[in-house]
Symmetry: C2
Subunit: 380 residues, 2 copies
């Protein structure tokens, strides 16, 4: 291989693929990035065997070839170079790099040892705006939680129906659900649902959230692929391919309350501040008590820990319906408010629907009906 | 105790003392801050038994008293409060805090259990500009290194002579020396030298580097105190008192070369970048090789590691004297350049004096004759 590419372009490509290369002691090749020329394209790939990421750029190629080199080393090295043309040469299992008055040799591993990244053959696909898709996914992705007993909730559940994509995640203590309405009619021939591993979902957000234009999602029974095109060509620019989590996602719709006994409306920042204060005095199970008083129009927040002390605070709110006292885990309550407000205007108005001390609470923004965050109470 | 203080003032006071309160399992009182009223002053203290820090503020006191409470908890709690008056009340061993519509109780430990912070009786003292003193100290403080066999080098060595303070630190691989000239004549009756523990030196920089005006240094045989006054009063504002390290500081002057065989003059940023690149390919002992060529006017930087690869780079420099090849630890060389440039103009010119491959190199800024950084070579 002999090819030339600008530093900033190569640095971007490495940043796209490097995060999933990992410190594998049993399979050192997984620490490496595969560099490969395909005519006038340079292709970088990395995989952790569950997910594969590929990136392409147009380059000047004098001679085709391929090699794998350690991702972290290549990334650090290239980041210290000036933004000038970089010449990459493969010699045996060495990658030789020249940039102005620098000559460098990185010891690699033969490209033949690199795992094959599977391809998706299915033709079923759907294109959506990449930025909006990522912004919606970001509202639920952190709620999913690794579970060895309930593997289904380790991922984000997607339901594709007509003109709507529903994304859901839960760790069984709380649940987030975001609906995304498509501007154009879906190209899918039928409804699809799938469970995407949390790690893939996070990489999709990391890599694609700043992209302009569309991302195309390709469907197959066990895999999914996210692809963006190289500008002004039909050639792909980035492909993220991932296995799916097998199993039936919990039928969560039945736990979402259809009505409320108490509805509290408040400014996000004021409650955030009170939760942070109360959290310092919460018990080992992170319990804080909230009490909505419709007569006074106040929400009382309190906590106590025999070893630390106790705290009582209150904020002015609007309370509709009955008085209500309920205990929540302060971390999950705070997370919920932060998820509801993310991407919203500064200090928006939020509602909390309650149904007594034994039923879950539901947080929503007054401005966005398409996101809900459900939180289970701490029962006495 | 019943006293009232503004949140921002209390928050600042806590930030001054809290860093030395530590997680002591054997002596839990050391995790605590002592709060004490002294007529119309609120006094906060913390100690780790080697160093004590005190802070005072003018407050409205209704009733005198004292208590100790956990530093981290008080600090987090106060930081979440709005900038309003805070009322502090002691009730038994509880600290009750009221701020607007919040009522909080923090469980404390009786003030009688708090260690007594010693006082300095000596009258010998010297006042210097706090900001300049800290800026100078910052150029050497990180070089000192904990050593159980040579306890003297665990601190920063100060020599006070007439109108000059010399500050020196070493870890036996490199050494930094900074001279600070006093604008007014020293008030000391004789020369002093002392070894200040690195931790105290770091706290002095953290607490006093942003202060306007002078810091007064009080001398005693085994202790030193740094004091700043409360504006427009003679009352102290902050006192940092510390034990000194006993022992004889190494007679380092004899290892500082008086002449050079080779002098290299270069722009800091260019060499920093080359060192970072070469560091990726250095051996386990962090070795990189530099070679000064007076004919070509170039400095060659190279490194190699049989497991990783190799790197060669060069920069244009001015070389006076003989050609020279020498190996350094890349971390210490980079640290040295960063210490020389800190506080200087952007990308200043630096000189490196060399005396063959067996003798130390000396880094200086072309603009500042009062700082030198000496680095030992890696001998073959």
């Amino acid at each position: 291989m002999i090819t030339t590419i600008l530093k900033d372009k190569l640095k971007y490509g490495i940043s796209v693929v490097e995060r999933i290369s990992n410190k594998s002691l049993t399979l050192p090749i997984l620490n490496n990035i595969l560099l490969k020329t395909e005519k006038n394209f340079l292709n970088l790939s990395a995989t952790d065997l569950e997910m594969g990421i590929q990136w392409w750029a147009l380059v000047k190629t004098e001679k085709e070839g391929k090699i794998t080199v350690p991702a972290k080393l290549l990334s650090s090295f290239v980041s210290f170079l000036p933004n000038k043309p970089i010449t990459l040469k493969v010699k045996g299992v060495d990658l030789q790099i020249e940039c102005e008055n620098r000559e460098t040799t990185i010891k690699g591993i033969d490209a033949e040892e690199f795992p094959i990244i599977p391809k998706i053959s299915e033709e079923e696909k759907l294109s959506v705006n990449a930025g909006i898709f990522c912004k919606n996914l970001a509202k639920v992705v952190d709620i999913a939680s690794f579970s060895s007993t309930k593997v289904e909730i380790s991922g984000v559940y997607f339901s594709f129906q007509k003109d709507i994509i529903t994304m859901t995640a839960t760790d069984s203590f709380r649940l987030g659900e975001k609906k995304m309405y498509l501007k154009t009619k879906s190209t899918l021939s039928k409804d699809y649902s799938l469970i995407l591993p949390q790690r893939t979902a996070k990489e999709v957000i990391n890599i694609l959230s700043e992209r302009e234009g569309d991302v195309t999602i390709y469907f197959s029974p066990n895999q999914v692929m996210f692809e963006t095109p190289l500008s002004e060509t039909k050639h792909p620019d980035i492909q993220i391919i991932s296995r799916l989590i097998e199993g039936e996602y919990p039928n969560y719709q039945e736990i979402i309350p259809k009505a409320y006994e108490t509805k509290v409306t408040f400014k996000a920042e004021e409650l955030i501040n009170q939760i942070k204060l109360a959290s310092l005095f919460s018990s080992k199970i992170n319990e804080i008590i909230i009490k909505a008083d419709p007569k006074k129009g106040e929400l009382f927040i309190s906590s106590q820990n025999p070893d630390v002390g106790e705290h009582k605070g209150s904020i002015k709110v609007k309370v509709e319906g009955k008085a209500c006292e309920v205990s929540f885990n302060h971390r999950f309550l705070l997370d919920g408010i932060l998820n509801v407000v993310s991407g919203e205007e500064k200090n928006p108005e939020i509602t909390l629907d309650l149904n007594g001390s034994e039923k879950p609470g539901v947080l929503r923004s007054s401005k966005d009906e398409n996101y809900l965050y459900l939180i289970m109470p701490i029962k006495k």
